[in-house]
């Protein structure tokens, strides 16, 4: 996978960069298909596929080894999924230099906020996410990443694909 790097930041204000935030779910795949369908004909649109893995607390595991092995497995699985998404985007007509992808493992209290932090640092003008369609009470207790992004995004457009 190739694509523009953080070193290109100065150029970004004159280009169109999309942050496509994904996980391994079907709704993320739909978001990828949507971007592939709508933007692959644009030669000056760059897509950054990002997956954030929330670093799990030590509390969830009996030993550090268990935790490391969970994290390694999760990372490998997400990277596999990103390779699939990359193929979908390239298959739709994007050039290789228009697509980049990255897995970010980090400690964060909110994945939505972590995505918006990435949007700021990469200066992306559109954030695209899938939506799971959770129940009212599920959103109340667990929260909704897409709603968090919708409510807190600034200086960018947000596309929520259902």
């Amino acid at each position: 996978m190739s694509g523009s790097t953080a070193g290109d930041l100065a150029k970004r204000d004159t280009e169109r960069h999309i942050l496509l935030a994904v996980d391994e779910s079907d709704n993320s795949r739909r978001a990828v298909m949507y971007v592939a369908d709508f933007f692959s004909d644009y030669r000056d649109v760059y897509v950054h596929v990002l997956s954030i893995i929330q670093e799990p607390s030590e509390d969830f595991f009996k030993t550090d080894e268990e935790r490391s092995s969970w994290l390694a497995e999760k990372q490998a699985s997400v990277e596999g999924k990103l390779a699939e998404y990359n193929d979908i985007l390239l298959g739709s007509g994007f050039r290789e230099d228009q697509v980049s992808s990255r897995v970010s493992v980090r400690r964060c209290t909110s994945i939505g906020q972590a995505i918006l932090d990435e949007q700021k640092s990469l200066r992306c003008c559109i954030v695209v996410v899938g939506r799971r369609g959770i129940s009212h009470s599920e959103e109340f207790v667990f929260g909704s990443t897409s709603n968090k992004i919708l409510h807190n995004a600034s200086h960018c457009a947000v596309m929520v694909v259902e």
């Binding site: 909110s110 939505g112 009212h136 009470s137 959103e139 667990f142």
Partner: protein
């Protein structure tokens, strides 16, 4: 982890233990036979009147602690024991390692929960100087198990105190509730302290608040639960806080079937959106039942109703609303 002034390590003999029991608790408390343990891994093996050496300190174990849930009889918690420190005679609650994983049901929602001794030990260190939490310390036994040694709280539960008030709701709300609301706000600030430090309580329930008679302060207990959170790390804690304020405002849970039986006029005014978001047999919109509840306070309750379209993200938002509600309760009641 800190444990105060532990003596140098040595093997206690049975006679030494007997002398300590006699000195601290009286010679009539010396058990006829008992075992001395240093590894608590298999906690079912530790019987009543056995002695456990933890961090070089001998503890005489007695009864299991119990916990009642939702009207069921108290269930023994075999991994939580009352004990006496044989050096100073103080009563302690000792929590042994129990890696329990279970699914907690919240209405239709299923949440994967588990007990984490590590989490509770970490929070005990964090709240060592905070008055609104149970205090204690943790240590490893000879088998490497993370054991928590907690101060025993002499007092009763906040919810029991509220339910013992015999006045009707109008009198309760005007004469008792203002002070109870102050207590509640203090307790929410304590949870904010946890959240600000990146920790969740994990099991916020009304029976997890104790009034400490000796220090005249309310304390949160039992924070060894954890769960895999989603986007909202503190959503489950906030849900617990919502249930408690609703309980305190209503002087108990206001149940739909009871209104149907006893107050059909009010029952007929209720819509689905007036009910608790998770427990659909409880009323959240209490102003329909008790019209003197100020709007500002009722708006807080509505955040936890089926009709809510915005939720609290954090305790700061809730505390802002509580400050407004407290002012209005003061204006209404003069207290």
């Amino acid at each position: 982890m800190t444990s105060g002034n532990a003596p140098v390590s040595h093997q206690f003999t049975t006679d030494e233990i007997k002398d300590m029991i006699a000195a601290r608790l009286g010679s009539n408390r010396i058990p006829k036979k008992f075992k001395i343990h240093t590894d608590t891994g298999d906690f079912f093996r530790i019987e009543y009147n056995d002695v456990v050496i933890l961090d070089n300190t001998p503890f005489l174990f007695s009864r299991y602690e119990k916990e009642g849930r939702f009207g069921l009889d108290d269930e023994p918690k075999y991994w939580v024991r009352r004990a006496f420190n044989l050096f100073d005679g103080q009563t302690k609650v000792i929590k042994l390692v129990f890696h329990e994983e279970f699914e907690s049901k919240l209405g239709d929602l299923v949440i994967k929960c588990f007990r984490s001794p590590k989490k509770e030990a970490r929070i005990l260190d964090l709240v060592a100087d905070h008055p609104n939490f149970m205090h204690g310390y943790s240590c490893s036994d000879s088998g490497g198990n993370n054991v928590r040694i907690l101060e025993y709280i002499y007092g009763n539960r906040l919810d029991e105190q509220v339910q013992k008030i015999v006045e009707d709701h109008y009198d309760y709300f005007h004469n008792f509730f203002p002070k109870i609301l102050d207590v509640y706000i203090e307790l929410v600030k304590a949870i904010k302290f946890l959240h600000d430090n990146g920790e969740k309580h994990g099991d916020i329930r009304r029976d997890h608040i104790f009034f400490d008679r000796e220090r005249a302060v309310y304390r949160w207990i039992d924070f060894d639960y954890n769960y895999m959170h989603g986007e909202s790390m503190f959503g489950f804690d906030l849900h617990g806080l919502g249930n408690i304020i609703t309980f305190l405002c209503g002087k108990g849970d206001i149940l739909v079937p009871e209104l149907y039986r006893n107050n059909r006029k009010i029952f007929d005014t209720l819509w689905g959106e007036d009910l608790n978001i998770s427990y659909k047999n409880r009323v959240a919109n209490l102003r329909k039942v008790f019209p003197y509840i100020p709007e500002s306070l009722n708006r807080i309750l509505l955040h936890f109703s089926l009709g809510a379209n915005i939720f609290y993200d954090d305790t700061n938002q809730m505390l802002d609303d509580l400050a407004r509600a407290r002012a209005d309760v003061g204006t209404l009641t003069g207290r």
